[in-house]
Amino acid sequence: MPLLVVEDLRIYYFTGRGVVRAVDGVSFSLEPGEVLGIAGESGCGKSTLAWGLIGLVPPPGRIVSGRIVLDGVDIVGLSEDVLRSRIRWKRISMIFQGAMNTLTPVYTVGRQMVELLRVHGGFSEREARARVLELLDSVGLERGIFDRYPHELSGGQKQRVTIAMALALDPDIVIADEPTTALDVVVQAQILNLLKRLQREKGISFILISHDLGVIAELADKVMVMYAGRVVEYGPADIVLRRPGHPYTYMLLRAFPRIHGPRGRLEYIPGAPPDLRSPPPGCRFHPRCPFRVEECSVREPSLRDLGGGHYVACIRAGELQFSV
């Protein structure tokens, strides 16, 4: 049975200049111990989706409709009290985009972690201290970090601290929103190795969000590709990254510079993603799609099941076949 099922989730921002449909009918499921990678260009709604899953959509945004079913219980509409005391950190925790820069500068690392355990986990001071040391070990940090302030740490060390915090209360699901985006490539690889090890040792289910398909490929069992607030492709990583069925996924893969293999030509997708206040009619990708047909600008494709858990939202789904 899936641990998490998301059905037709819609999250809009009601701004003075119009309604931003940041997440517009997103569905997926997550099995225990599975890693789901969510990919897409900046602004396509990845972070908004993540905030939605833990009930922290910033105003003027809110969940407009849809269900988020965690272990059989729909958590959309639960009060903030219930979310805070029962769900967040304990069941679903999140490593926020740029989180390493949001550690409170005035407290030591240890103090911040102890507080989290006391406030959200009901630990005593002594239990909390012991647990923090254990957590520091598990993310490969020296125990001496306990008494250090965030500004005394490197970027990689800070990110390890935020990972330790996300794991503190043994959640079932950890959402990692661009966990390595601000890091240098060597540190990024070190952090990805850490996530791989933690995933294996603890069987955590991860939702890994990144605009970087290379990062996604390092961990994800399943990949969901978003474009302009919608899911355009969803399926096993092996299929989505090797034989994608959606033109957008294919072109994104072709735009990715590669360090190995023949150099080839770097492709690009003409134009830019649309303004989510007034997305184009029909397929939202049609103004940029070299494979479009007439129907694409009038009919909006929905996800079509191509078998083997592979879904593609394209009018020409099944007919277009790519290999990368």
Partner: protein, 336 residues
Amino acid sequence: MIEVLRFRPRRYVYAVNNVSFALREGEVFCLVGESGCGKTTTGRALLGLVKPTGGRILYRPSRELAERLGELGVVFEDGFVDLVSLGRREWRLVRREIQVVYQDPYSSLNPRFTVKRSVEEPLIIHGIGDEEWRDRRVREMLEAVRLLPVSEYLERYPHELSGGQRQRVAIARAFILNPRLVVADEPVSMLDVSIRAEILELLVSLKSRLGTTIVFITHDLATARYVCDRIAVMYLGSIVEVGDAEKVIREPLHPYTRALIAAIPEPDPANRRRMRELPIKGEVPSAVDLPRGCSFMPRCVVYDRADPRIKRLCEERRPGLARVARDHWVACWAVS
């Protein structure tokens, strides 16, 4: 066309320590490295925005510029001027030939300037052409960077443009004086992956058409591979390996270059959950307490395995760039 001979910027002792390279006319030369290694500082030195405390930056100006510099009493050696020795007045002239594209398209354009004004600015500063001529030149440049139809963009302000469009404006502005050298500091790293290649292609096609030389600064070796003729890999303020781009990437010789390449993720599901072997230890230390010998030593796995004779060299002497093959130089005692 330009030769940088060992310089150290004045304000911060170790930002750039031991950098020398020579640019060939019409090439794209990449400076690659992790954040803080001194890429931007090197670029700023080429632009005369930081003054090195030591070393020289030799530049061979166009004939026309050489004449004007000569009138100001600038001394030439073999047709080169030392940019480091130039004063403000001379730099004003040199800037016509050395332009820049910055990383952040959101802060590099004046928010109160229209596209037309931004692109025209260098012509105005250098007092070139009359209004009509400048207007024509601006339109030409916007066409060249494919902001089409031009009339739709002329009067727009930066906030009315996407990141990619702003970067095109910045490129048009950098090229409008027909410079001989353009320093492009991470020009696509803030843009979405899907549009990066388009901007890179634009940059490369402009330079091919105009014969410009480009210093391309990036933290991403994979991107460098697609735009550069030659690559220089920097670590803690020094160049550790330099050479033909494809050679450096396919046959990296410096232990640091090897680690950088091993760390780059690729969208290949075969890598899933496989621990990545990283032939490097720890993280970049602060540049303040560099070891006496090779600055990469604390992180070097080759040093760990090296024989005592090499180890002693690593500990005691800073390795300089040594030629290991045609167009391939490496600063490592274990290689040379």
